[in-house]
Symmetry: C2
Subunit: 426 residues, 2 copies
């Protein structure tokens, strides 16, 4: 096995070294040792010449993409019934669909479609919401394990403010199911790990949060949830948690908002200064989900602010708030909505650049998984082989231009190879 | 020939009867006689039973899509260098690229890529900008003729405020070239017709507009241009045309703004009440280009206003302001940006619905070409055969849901057949 993870790829290599620096190397050599990047070279150093080399010709080689926020059970209704705002959308579309995953036959059918699509997508890492159902969540984890993608999957916790047919009966029951789930899956997989997933404050009682906090401390698992997505939601949290200073504080009161718990919060469209300060201080990751924030009429997150403060930020598709699993599309959308925000709301926050969007979709989000999302030395070897030859153009293009164009124009047909930690997925 | 245009298609038929009514007929019969729609039937009437019938099984059949605004020479740099606003973008990206089409070899290479892509796209009708060059414009028309799509193509007129290397030398020269072009192409094609194309007011002197006005009256051809896209542009028009009451008035002074000249104006993001009144009065068509208006940080057009006033409105991709040729994507974007406009700017203008976006991309834009964009009786038989079987879903879906989902999720792989005026394109 170790042998297979020592090799060289040759091609046109592009990756972020940091938020501002996109490095491009034409016809370079990318060396993988023991599943980690050893280096990127213009000439192959002598000591690696004995390694097996694959020459990808004129194709591009980039780090795998990272999706910090996606709902597997919502994949079934992506691109459907997009005419509602968050809270109505949850009640009309989401809860009725997620409830179906109690039925393992339905879950199998739906999650197989999700897993197959994720496998052939450009995503190599993802933070995934399942449903409240333990059996279906484990099934999803089994299926994701088979894809070879490195994912974190969460059984959802929710014990209030959802319909009876889709609500855990008590904090205690939710806790028990969660512990049973964790005991079952903690060491079960090579590729999949559990992540604690309180749906969002409106659906979680204080008692449930208290119990989840204890679970987090005991199992030391990361946390994912939603934050400051929609104005009505924020207003509701204020009502539900009168003692919290701001939305994020309602998580923080239970130690579920960053250090020591590794936490990713989706959206952060309307985070206040205080909330942003606390996120920065405690290293909370932001999953910026531009398409979802548009589709659900939520608004546009102040990404420029987060980038300038060098906060932890990556991209999320938020299927089915987003209509598809493409993080390339999320990069484009991140740039696009930032322009509208700049034009319509605040000309002091200049638009996000393509380099910054690429950073967020690779290295920015990758940091949630460790040394992931770049070809810097020592980083996990997650890579994509991209073929843009079927996207013809009459003029010569630089490698950076080819990458930008790929991000805008490509689809799954153009992904010719995919690796995680040095193992080839396809 | 006529025989080939009499036939029946069976499948799941969807089309707009008007702006509010999307009609769906499962396993219906669509009858084409002499290249026009005769009707849509749940049971095939006796008198059509002798016609050749193609059964498309579970596929969808919809009208061909209409792109009211696309720049063929900009197709080469779609998805590139998206970090500029309109006027800088023209000088940095657009004019240098368009100037290359003086070279017919380059034009051949570039326009062939454009024509091939348009052929396999969902678009059956388009209003196309070429460049200032007569030979390259005729080459483009030759290539578009071969696709079988029904298009209007315009040689661009511009005699000021562009670099020397891409500017017509005088109004007289521009007029002469335009007349020679029209004399050459007026009766040359089955599928392609010329359209008068003053680039936009900032690039056209009064004298040029005067001469174009005479040409329009003589040849009775339609007109396409740009209107109220960007605030700096509007300010500039105000300076250049101090006697015009508003941007559109600068066209209207020369009779190039609707009745009797059939006119389509792209964008209309910042049209004033007066401008909107005049557009409505003179039947000017609006080409709503949501992706371009986002990519160039222009803003978001008040489409709800135009729809409520029942004005003439369709969709445009505006490549390369837009990054691709898909009018399905333009439908999605029309819905998406209208939500952000509603959320961020004006909650009195409710978001565009999917039915309305579908209407704009078919019947709304189709009206510029005559009885086009629907399966109402007597309409030109432009149709698409859509196969969504490779987009699996675990739950049953209604035909309307399948259409919405197709609009969000499909690409050219899913288009299995295409007809214009009863002739099969592929």
């Amino acid at each position: 096995m170790a042998e297979r993870k020592n090799f060289v790829l040759k091609g046109n290599i592009c990756y972020s070294e940091d938020i501002h620096l996109l490095r491009t190397v034409e016809q370079g050599y990318l060396v993988c040792l023991e599943g980690k990047t050893e280096g990127v070279y213009k000439e192959l150093p002598e000591q690696f010449k004995a390694l097996p080399l694959t020459d990808w010709g004129d194709m591009l080689i980039i780090p795998g993409l990272v999706d910090l926020h996606i709902h597997a059970p919502q994949f079934s209704f992506r691109g459907l019934n997009m005419d509602l705002e968050l809270l109505d959308w949850l009640n009309t579309n989401t809860f009725p669909e997620e409830a179906k995953y109690k039925d393992l036959d339905y879950a199998k059918k739906a999650y197989q479609i999700f897993a197959d699509t994720m496998k052939k997508s450009a995503t190599t890492r993802a933070c995934i919401f399942a449903t409240i159902h333990r059996p279906a969540t484990e099934l999803l984890m089994d299926l994701m394990e088979e894809t070879g993608l490195k994912t974190m999957v969460g059984k959802v916790n929710m014990d209030r403010n959802s319909p009876d047919y889709y609500c855990e009966k008590s904090p205690k029951e939710s806790e028990r199911d969660t512990i049973e789930w964790l005991e079952s899956v903690m060491s079960k997989y090579d590729n999949v790990t559990p992540i604690l997933t309180p749906r969002f404050i409106p659906c979680c009682t204080d008692e449930l949060m208290e119990r989840l906090s204890r679970i987090q401390k005991k199992y030391r698992i990361p946390v994912q949830s939603h934050l400051s997505e929609n104005k009505s939601e924020i207003h509701w949290v204020k009502e539900l948690c009168p003692t919290s200073r701001f939305y994020g504080d309602a998580y923080d009161q239970f130690g579920l908002f960053g250090k020591p718990a590794k936490t990713v919060m989706a959206h952060c469209v309307y985070s206040t200064h205080e909330e942003i300060d606390l996120m920065e201080e405690q290293g909370v990751f932001i999953a910026h989900c531009p398409q979802s924030n548009t589709n659900l009429s939520s608004g546009i997150a102040p990404v420029r602010t987060y980038l300038e403060r060098k906060m932890n930020i990556g991209l999320g598709t938020d299927v089915a708030g987003g209509s598809g699993e493409s993080i390339f599309r999320a990069m484009v959308d991140a740039v696009s909505v930032s322009k509208l925000r700049w034009r319509l709301l605040d000309e002091s926050l200049r638009p996000v650049t393509m380099e910054e969007a690429f950073y967020m979709g690779t290295l920015g989000g990758g940091a949630f998984f460790g040394k992931v999302g770049s070809f810097l030395k020592g980083y996990e070897f997650d890579a994509l082989i991209l073929d843009d030859s079927s996207l013809p153009h009459p003029q010569p293009l630089s490698l950076k231009e080819r990458l930008e164009r790929f991000i805008y124009l490509s689809d799954d047909r153009h992904i010719k190879g995919k690796f995680t930690e040095g193992s080839r997925i396809f």
